[in-house]
């Protein structure tokens, strides 16, 4: 290699060093710009009435939608987290290398990447059509569908990190398999399993597409899941199609509340994992 080539590649290296920093800077600035915009505009029309008023009130609020999202996510979690955890327990503790485990693992991975609109359509075909009405149940089921594979795989990964000697010790002390799993393995991994569950909750709390044809949205205060059900994301989407800018401003506030909810979940996950380390 001539010295010319060496200098050239040194200069190229300097340039690319700068380019890499620029890439990171551009990404961070763009994303800060977007979140900053959401924050500033959203705060503009956010006040306490936003949380207690209904869309018909003056000034309009999103109480029904906020409660709707919380109820939907709670219902989805009540079904999705136990099923997902049990599937994770099966994959890690029972037949980890069986003929069934490999396809289940594979399908769970693949399901986690299915576009959420497709899940919404499945909910429409399987629940809305037979029941004859849009409902909160259908919406919650669609969200649970999205949660199950995520929770199953994170639970499996986390349980696998529990040292085998714990299981052997428990069995040696006379505990049964079920006792070992419920009293030793799962409690040891609680922190990280909760993390996985919380991340799944944060993921589905922001979903809109699966709810479009299942929960469908409502402007009333609904607590009965067998009726069309309001959700924050559906309300935001509805508002984004409003012609008047004042009404649209509420959509920004709704986004802010939604992101704040997700941020809280994320932060609590951080706190949880930090405690355990």
């Amino acid at each position: 290699m001539t010295s010319m080539q060496i200098t050239r590649s040194k200069i190229a290296s300097r340039i690319m060093y700068g380019v890499c920093i620029a890439c990171a800077a551009i990404i961070i600035l763009t994303l800060l710009l977007i979140t900053g915009y959401l924050l500033v505009i959203g705060l503009h029309s956010l006040n306490w009435r936003f949380f207690v008023n209904l869309p018909q009130d003056n000034p309009p609020g999103m109480r029904n939608s906020i409660e709707g999202t919380i109820i939907l996510v709670a219902l989805a979690a009540a079904a999705g987290i136990p099923i997902g955890m049990l599937a994770g327990i099966y994959l890690s503790e029972y037949d980890a290398n069986s003929m069934l485990a490999a396809p289940v693992r594979f399908v769970a991975d693949v399901l986690a990447g299915v576009p959420s609109i497709v899940v919404g359509i499945l909910g429409y075909e399987l629940l809305v059509v037979p029941m004859g009405t849009y409902s909160g149940w259908a919406g919650a089921a669609a969200l649970a569908f999205i949660m199950i594979p995520i929770v199953a795989r994170t639970t499996e990964e986390m349980l696998r990190l529990v040292p085998g000697s714990y299981r052997e010790a428990s069995i040696a002390l006379g505990a049964t398999k079920a006792g070992t799993i419920l009293r030793v393995v799962v409690p040891t991994a609680t922190g990280s399993v909760v993390t996985g569950a919380m991340l799944a909750i944060a993921r589905v709390a922001g979903e809109t597409a699966p709810l479009l044809f299942t929960a469908v949205g409502s402007s009333r205060l609904v607590h009965n899941p067998s009726e069309p059900f309001p959700s924050l994301t559906l309300r935001i989407y509805e508002l984004s199609n409003e012609p008047s800018p004042e009404t649209r401003m509420q959509a920004w506030s709704g986004i802010l509340v939604l992101i704040a909810l997700i941020f809280l979940v994320n932060l609590s996950v951080r706190y949880f994992t930090r405690q355990r380390r």
Binding site: S13, A24, I28, G113, E157, G206, L212, Y237, I259
Partner: protein
């Protein structure tokens, strides 16, 4: 040697634990089987609902560029090829109605265009940022930046959609003008018309910004509600995903690999390219995961671009992706079996496509990171 006491203790254990032991196993087994059933349900239900369309159009669905939910009236023409008018009402006379026709090409090409633009934007930026995080950023600064990126991956798509619809779209579209961000920072709004004005004089780029209408070449209006803006929003959305996964992959490269290249006299960038080459399959998997996310995204595309399935080469024209067509037209298709069937067939294609992308990606990323399933 089996003694009587052995059998007895077995019996005792079994009697004491008879409920919990098989119950937990059966519940776990049922949950695992349920995951298999979920995928089966997706395939079976979509296939059954798509039956009217599959039956009617067959393989034609995959190659037809038409997407017409309503019958197309064909006018009665006279011998000169002019439409005949009713003598009393002076209305043009309809000869017959072409039946509705559906083809996936318009939606598939819209999906390919938006995802392609998204990847063009996201891949270089994400890989550069991932290298920066692994090789440049001081250790104390990595956790906050990583947290930021992971948090941004968790922001719901409807937020990006809203921002694209009311901020980015208007910035991109409209006539060239100057705006101020937050009333302070000057910003050259109307980017599309600025770029179009530059490209229109370059030979070979005309198709990007012009189209043929009635034999004449006219510039495509820059509305800010088009494939380009949708692609940019999708790009912004997949950046955190690709960055997070490729950062994990690059971080897991054995240190000796990097140190070896430097010991041999490689410059900083040369050792970086070695890192990229060393983990190329994993990085490719990360990109495919980003692609899968971009291709399946619904809300952001629907809000930014709407859904008007048509085939156009230009990124300045409005279009539709498979997901946005589904979300946009499903409400009006509920009563029309053929229309609904066609949408279901689109959903089926979308599902199969996402399965293929995910299978390829997981195969490439497998074992390198568990984050792939958590982030994407």
């Amino acid at each position: 040697m089996t003694s009587v006491s052995d059998i007895d203790s077995n019996l005792i254990v079994r009697r004491r634990r008879f409920s919990a032991e098989p119950a937990l196993y059966l519940a776990a087994l049922a949950s695992a089987v349920m995951i298999l059933l979920m995928l089966a349900a997706l395939l079976v239900v979509l296939f059954a609902a798509a039956a009217p369309s599959i039956h009617r159009f067959g393989a034609d669905f995959l190659v037809s560029t038409d997407w017409r939910p309503n019958p197309l009236p064909v006018l009665k023409l006279n011998s000169h090829g002019r439409p005949i008018r009713d003598p009393r009402t002076w209305m043009k006379v309809v000869d017959h109605n072409e039946p509705p026709r559906f083809g996936a090409v318009a939606s598939i090409s819209g999906t390919a265009q938006t995802s392609g633009i998204a990847l063009l934007l996201a891949v270089p930026l994400s890989l550069g940022a991932a290298l920066c995080l692994v090789r440049i950023v001081p250790v104390w600064l990595v956790p906050p930046i990583s947290f930021l990126i992971e948090f941004l991956a968790a922001i719901p798509s409807i937020a990006y959609g809203l921002w694209g619809m009311f901020v980015l779209g208007p910035w991109m579209g409209g006539p060239a003008r100057w705006e101020r961000i937050g009333g302070v920072i000057p910003f050259p709004a109307g980017i599309e018309s600025r770029v179009a004005a530059a490209l229109v004089h370059l030979p070979g780029f005309g198709w990007l910004v012009e189209r043929q209408v009635g034999g004449k070449t006219v510039p495509i209006p820059t509305t800010g509600r088009d494939v380009l803006v949708a692609g940019i929003i999708l790009g912004i959305m997949v950046i955190p995903i690709i960055t997070a996964i490729s950062r994990d992959i690059l971080r897991n490269i054995p240190r000796a690999q990097i140190e070896g290249t430097i010991a041999l006299g490689a410059t900083w960038w040369q050792s970086c390219t070695e890192m990229l080459k060393f983990s190329r399959s994993g990085l490719f998997g990360a990109i495919i995961l980003g692609l899968a996310r971009a291709a399946g995204e619904t809300m952001a595309v629907l809000m930014v671009m709407g859904s008007t399935p048509n085939v156009s080469a230009s990124p300045l024209s409005a279009g539709a992706t498979m997901a946005s067509t589904l979300a946009g037209e499903f409400p009006e298709a509920a009563t029309n079996d053929l229309h609904r069937g066609a949408l279901m067939e689109l959903a089926l294609i979308l599902l199969v496509m996402s399965l293929v992308f995910n299978i390829v990606a997981r195969y490439l990323v497998v074992g390198k990171t568990i984050r792939a399933s958590a982030v994407a």
